[in-house]
C-alpha cells in the first residue's frame, strides 16, 4: 500500500498506521470521525459509547440505519466502519467512560484521545484522565451550524476546565411555583409535576404555591380560618398529603387534577395578594370551561387552544397512569422527551399554566425543544468538525505541535472572510483548579449549617466534578471526613455539619479522587451571611491561594466572588438522554449536563483570542456556545 498516491509522506503514514487512538463517543461527531480516521490510515482504534441508536440520530449519524435503532452505537459503528476498511483493528465498548476500569493506566496506552462527546460532565472527566495520564486530547463539539475543535496538552495548553463553565440557567423556586413570567418557567413546573405524580419524588421539585416566597412576606395568604383541605396541603412544614398520594387517591382523575392545579391552587396564589400588586394576576380555569364542542385533530406543529391542551392533558395523563400502574408498587416513570405521553403531558400542562399566567403559548414541537434542551444537529457541521479533528491529529502525529489550533466553525463570515477560523492555543490558566500543579480553592460557607453530604455532593461532585471523593482534614492528624469506600449508610458523618468536625474559619481540607488522580486543597472561610439561597461562594483571593491556613483573610476586603452556587435555585438538569443520566452519570449526581448530542461548552465570546492573522477575534460569529 506504500505505492498508493497520498499527500502524506511514507514515514508519516507509518506513524499513522501505528498510532493507537481512543475515540470517546460514537454519535454525531464520532461517526464522522471514525470514518475519517480509517480512511486516513489509522488502524488501531478503541471506541466507547454507552448510548443506543435512536431514530432521531439517523439524519447525521451515517454509520447507523433504521434497522439498528435500539442497538449499541459503539458496536454498530465498529461494524459499519470495518466495511470501509476490513483490516482496521477496532475495539468497541458499549460502556460508560466513568467506569473505573478506564483508569490512568488504561489511558496511558494511547498516543492520542479524541473526544466526540455531548456533555460537560464526561468532557471534564476525560480532561482529568488525560491530564493524569499525560496523553494529548483533542476536544470538539457542534451545535447547529456552529462547531469547535481544540487540542489539550498537559502543561502546554489550557485544559478543558481552565475556563469556568458558563452559569447554569436557573430560576428561583418561587418564580416557578408562584409567579412564572416565561414559558420556560411553566415547562420546568410541568416537568416537576411529572416527577411529583409519576417519577422520582424530589423535595426540591415542589409544585404547590410557595408560601415562603419573600415577596409575599407578611402575607400568609390565609384568608378566613385557613382550615380548608387545600390550604393545609400548602403548609410546607407539615404537608398533610403528598401530591402523588392525593393523585393516587383520586385515581389520577384528569378532571380533579386539572381543577386542583389550575383552579384551586391558582386561587390560593391569588390570595397572596402582595404578589399581584405589580403583576397581572393569573386567571384560574375550570375543567368545565375547557370542554370542546367540536374536536379537531391535535396538531403538534401549531399552538393548541386551551380546549385542545385540556384534551391532550387528559389523554396523556391517562396514558401515563396506565404505564405507571404497569410498573407495580414502588415503580416510577422516568421523564423522557422522546416518550410521547410524557412530552404531551409536559406540553399541555405548561401551555395551560402559560394561559393562566398570560404567557404566550407554544406548539408541542417547540415545547419539546425547550423541555428536552434539544440542540439542533446536522451532518455537514459534524463532518466539518470531524475533518478538523483529524487534521489536528495529523499535526500531532507529524510532531508539529506548533501547527495545532483551536478552530471555530462559523455560520457566516465577517470582514476577515474566515468561515473556519484558527486561533493559537492558550497556555494553561494560572490557578486553574484542575490543571494547576497544586490545585487549591477557597470557599466561603457556613460551617455551622453545611453538612458533609452537601459538601460532598454540591461542592466536590457538582462544582468540582469529582466522581468519588475522599476528604481528609489537614489538621495534622489526618482525620478522614468523607470516605469514598463506605456505603451511604455506613458514612454516619454525612448528615453532620462541618463544624462538628472542628472545621472552622481557616480550616484546610484535602479532597482526592483516586480514579481521576486528582486532588485539591480546599480552604474554608466561615461565613454566616451568605446571600439568600447560596450555600457557598468561591473566593478568588490572590493572597489566599497557596497561602497557609493561619493567614487571616477578611472576605469583605480582598475577596472577589467569581462563582456562586445557590441552593434551592432550580436547575434544569434533565439530560436529553435518560440512559445517560441514569448510567453514564451515577445516580443522584447532578451535573451540569443539560444538553443534547454533540454540543460543546466553550464560550469563545468571553475570550479574545490571538488569531493567526494577528486579528483579535471578538465578534458575534465567534460565539460558540453551548451545553
Amino acid at each position: 500500500s506504500s505505492e498508493v498516491n497520498t499527500p502524506l509522506s511514507s514515514s508519516v503514514l507509518t506513524d499513522v498506521n501505528n498510532a493507537k487512538l481512543f475515540v470517546v463517543g460514537a454519535g454525531g461527531i464520532g461517526c464522522e470521525l471514525l470514518k475519517n480516521l480509517v480512511l486516513t490510515g489509522f488502524r488501531n482504534i478503541e471506541v466507547i459509547d454507552l448510548d443506543t441508536i435512536d431514530v432521531s440520530n439517523l439524519n447525521r449519524q451515517f454509520l447507523f440505519q433504521k434497522k439498528h435503532v435500539g442497538k449499541s452505537k459503539a458496536m454498530v459503528a465498529k461494524e459499519s466502519v470495518l466495511r470501509l476498511c476490513p483490516k482496521a483493528n477496532i475495539n468497541a465498548r458499549h460502556d460508560s467512560i466513568f467506569n473505573p476500569q478506564y483508569n490512568m493506566q488504561f489511558f496511558k496506552q494511547f498516543d492520542l484521545v479524541l473526544n466526540a462527546l455531548d456533555n460537560r460532565a464526561a468532557r471534564n472527566h476525560v480532561n482529568r484522565m488525560c491530564l493524569a495520564a499525560d496523553v494529548p486530547l483533542i476536544e470538539s463539539g457542534s451545535a447547529g451550524y456552529l462547531g469547535q475543535v481544540t487540542v489539550i496538552k498537559k502543561s502546554v495548553t489550557e485544559c478543558y476546565e481552565c475556563q469556568p463553565a458558563p452559569r447554569q440557567k436557573s430560576f428561583p423556586g418561587c418564580t416557578i411555583r408562584n409567579t412564572p413570567s416565561e414559558l420556560i418557567h411553566c415547562i420546568v413546573w410541568a416537568k416537576y409535576l411529572f416527577n411529583q405524580l409519576f417519577g422520582e419524588e424530589d423535595a426540591d421539585q415542589d409544585v404547590s404555591p410557595d408560601t415562603a416566597d419573600p415577596e409575599a412576606a407578611n402575607n400568609p395568604g390565609e384568608k378566613g380560618d385557613g382550615s380548608s383541605e387545600e390550604n393545609n396541603s400548602h403548609d410546607l412544614d407539615k404537608p398533610r398529603i403528598s401530591t402523588r398520594e392525593w393523585a393516587r387517591e383520586c385515581d389520577y382523575d384528569a378532571e380533579k387534577i386539572f381543577n386542583k392545579l389550575f383552579h384551586t391552587d391558582i386561587n390560593y396564589l391569588l390570595s397572596m395578594d402582595k404578589l399581584w400588586q405589580k403583576r397581572t394576576p393569573p386567571k384560574p380555569v375550570l375543567w368545565a370551561e375547557c370542554q370542546e364542542i367540536q374536536e379537531r385533530q391535535l396538531d403538534h406543529q401549531t399552538v393548541m387552544t386551551l380546549q385542545e391542551n385540556a384534551r391532550l392533558f387528559s389523554e396523556s395523563i391517562n396514558a401515563l397512569k396506565d404505564e405507571f400502574k404497569k410498573q407495580g408498587d414502588g415503580g416510577m416513570l422516568v421523564w423522557d422527551k422522546d416518550e410521547d405521553p410524557a412530552m404531551n403531558f409536559t406540553s399541555s400542562v405548561a401551555n395551560i399554566r402559560a394561559h393562566i399566567f398570560h404567557i404566550e403559548e407554544k406548539s408541542c414541537f417547540e415545547v419539546k425543544s425547550m423541555a428536552g434542551n434539544i440542540i439542533p444537529a446536522i451532518a455537514s457541521t459534524n463532518a466539518i468538525v470531524a475533518g478538523l479533528i483529524v487534521l489536528q491529529a495529523l499535526c500531532l502525529i507529524r510532531k508539529r505541535f506548533a501547527d495545532c489550533r483551536t478552530v471555530y466553525v462559523c455560520e457566516a463570515v465577517n470582514d476577515t472572510k474566515k468561515l473556519l477560523k484558527p486561533c493559537t492555543l492558550d497556555p494553561p490558566k494560572r490557578g486553574c483548579y484542575v490543571c494547576a500543579e497544586k490545585p487549591e480553592i477557597t470557599l466561603k460557607l457556613n460551617t455551622k449549617t453545611l453538612t458533609c453530604e452537601q459538601f460532598r455532593d454540591k461542592i466536590l461532585k457538582s462544582h468540582l466534578g469529582m466522581l468519588a471523593p475522599d476528604v481528609e482534614i489537614l489538621d495534622g492528624r489526618g482525620t478522614i471526613l468523607i470516605s469514598s469506600e463506605e456505603d451511604e449508610e455506613e458514612n454516619q458523618s454525612l448528615g453532620q455539619t462541618l463544624d462538628s468536625f472542628n472545621i472552622t474559619h481557616g480550616s484546610r481540607l484535602r479532597a482526592d479522587d483516586f480514579l481521576q488522580n486528582y486532588d485539591i486543597v480546599v480552604n474554608i472561610l466561615h461565613e454566616e451571611n451568605l446571600p439568600d439561597d447560596m450555600i457557598f461562594q468561591v473566593s478568588e483571593t490572590k493572597g489566599t491561594i497557596g497561602a497557609s491556613a493561619e493567614k487571616e483573610t477578611t472576605p469583605e476586603n480582598n475577596t472577589e466572588e467569581n462563582s456562586v452556587v445557590q441552593e434551592d435555585k432550580i436547575e434544569i438538569i434533565e439530560d436529553a438522554d435518560p440512559s445517560a443520566s441514569q448510567d453514564e452519570i451515577p445516580r443522584k449526581r447532578k451535573r451540569s449536563s443539560t444538553n443534547d448530542k454533540d454540543s460543546v461548552l466553550i464560550d469563545s465570546s468571553k475570550r479574545s483570542k490571538q488569531c493567526d492573522d494577528s486579528v483579535i477575534v471578538n465578534d458575534d460569529n465567534n460565539v460558540v456556545v453551548l451545553d
Partner: protein, 334 residues
C-alpha cells in the same frame, strides 16, 4: 403529496429544529446531480442524501481504484474495478431510504444542456476547467444552480453560481409590550422576541467571469485575507490541461508544478510567494479529513440553495488543511 410523514419527522427532527419545516419541504422536492463520485464527491453525496432531498443522481464513468480507499466512503474493498457510481449506489441508498438514488455511468462530456435542465442543482467534481466552464454556462442558460468543488491533498475549494438567488433569512427582533395592571397603579413591561422572515436576493457571476477578476486591484489588506488555494487550483487546472491527469507524489510532477506556479502567479501579477513554495508536496490525491471539511461546507450550501433558507456563501470557499483556515471569498470583477 407534500405532507411530511410522522416517520420523516422523527428522522429529520434535529434538522427541522434548525432550518424549519418549510425548508425541509423544499429540500424533499429537490433533484440533485453529483458528477464525480470520488472521495470528495462521496462526502457531498452523504450529506445531501442524509438531509432528505428528493433524488440524487451519481454520475461517473470511472472505475474504482486503490487510491479511492483513502477517501471514498460509499464503496468497499471488493468494488475494485467496478464503476464507482454503480459501486456507491447501495451504500448511498442505505443512508436514507426516502431518497431516490440514480446512477449514470456515461461520460460527463456526453451530457447536454437538456440533461442538466432535469436537475435543480448540478454539482461537478473531479473535472477539468473546461468542463466546469461549459457546464456552468449550460446551467446558467437553463436556470439550474451550479456548484463545483474538489480536494487536492490538503487543499480544497468549492464554487457556487446560483444565478439570481432568492432566499429567506430569519431575524429576531425584540419588542417590549406594556401591560397595564387592572387597577392601573402599575405598568409591567414584558419583553418578547419575534422571529421575522426577510426575503432577499443574491446575484452570482459565472466561473468564467470570476476568473476575469484582476487581483492586482486587490489591496494589501484584501490580499492578506485572500486564499492561496485559488491559485493552487489554477496551477492544478493548468497541470491537468497539459498532462490530461492530476499530479502524483513524485519529483517529476513536483518540478512541473513549481514551474507552473511561477507562470500562473507571474501572469496574474501576483508575488510568487503568495503560494508557498512547498505546496506541491501537499496537493496530491484526496486527503479524507479535507474532503470531509470541504464536502461539509459544499453540501451545506447545496442544502441552503435547495431550501432557499439563509444567505449563501458568495461565491468561493477555500480550505487549507495545513493551517486550518477556511475562507469565503467573492471573486468577481468589480
Amino acid at each position: 403529496d407534500s405532507e411530511i410523514t410522522n416517520e420523516e419527522f422523527a428522522q429529520y427532527d434535529r434538522q427541522i429544529r434548525l432550518w424549519g419545516l418549510d425548508a425541509q419541504k423544499r429540500l424533499r422536492q429537490s433533484k440533485i446531480l453529483v458528477a464525480g463520485v470520488g472521495g470528495f464527491g462521496s462526502e457531498v453525496v452523504k450529506n445531501i442524501v442524509l438531509s432528505g432531498v428528493f433524488s440524487v443522481t451519481l454520475l461517473d464513468e470511472r472505475k474504482v481504484c486503490e487510491e479511492d480507499f483513502c477517501s471514498q466512503l460509499l464503496i468497499t474493498t471488493n468494488h475494485v474495478g467496478m464503476n464507482i457510481a454503480e459501486a456507491s449506489k447501495v451504500r448511498t441508498q442505505e443512508l436514507n431510504p426516502n431518497v431516490e438514488v440514480y446512477v449514470d455511468t456515461e461520460s460527463l462530456d456526453s451530457k447536454t444542456a437538456d440533461y442538466f435542465a432535469k436537475f435543480d442543482i448540478v454539482c461537478v467534481t473531479r473535472c477539468t476547467l473546461q468542463q466546469r466552464l461549459d457546464i456552468n454556462n449550460m446551467c446558467r442558460k437553463k436556470n439550474v444552480k451550479f456548484f463545483s468543488g474538489d480536494v487536492f491533498g490538503f487543499y480544497g475549494y468549492c464554487f457556487l453560481d446560483l444565478g439570481e438567488h432568492e432566499y429567506v433569512e430569519e431575524v429576531t427582533v425584540n419588542k417590549q409590550v406594556a401591560i397595564s395592571v387592572e387597577d392601573g397603579s402599575a405598568e409591567e413591561k414584558t419583553k418578547s422576541s419575534e422571529t421575522v422572515s426577510i426575503k432577499k436576493t443574491a446575484t452570482f457571476c459565472s466561473y468564467e467571469t470570476a476568473l476575469k477578476e484582476d487581483w492586482k486591484l486587490r489591496n494589501r489588506r484584501s490580499l492578506r485575507q485572500s486564499s492561496s488555494v485559488f491559485y493552487i487550483l489554477q496551477i492544478l487546472d493548468e497541470f491537468q490541461s497539459r498532462h490530461q491527469r492530476l499530479p502524483i507524489q513524485n519529483s517529476m510532477d513536483s518540478l512541473t508544478l513549481s514551474l507552473i506556479r511561477k507562470e500562473i502567479l507571474t501572469k496574474a501579477g501576483m508575488k510568487e510567494n503568495f503560494v508557498s513554495d512547498d505546496f506541491q508536496d501537499f496537493c496530491c490525491s484526496v486527503l479524507s479529513p479535507v474532503a470531509a471539511v470541504v464536502g461539509g461546507v459544499m453540501a451545506q450550501e447545496v442544502i441552503k440553495a435547495c431550501s432557499k433558507k439563509n444567505k449563501p456563501h458568495q461565491n468561493f470557499f477555500f480550505f487549507n488543511g495545513l493551517n486550518h483556515t477556511g475562507i469565503v471569498d467573492n471573486i468577481c470583477p468589480k
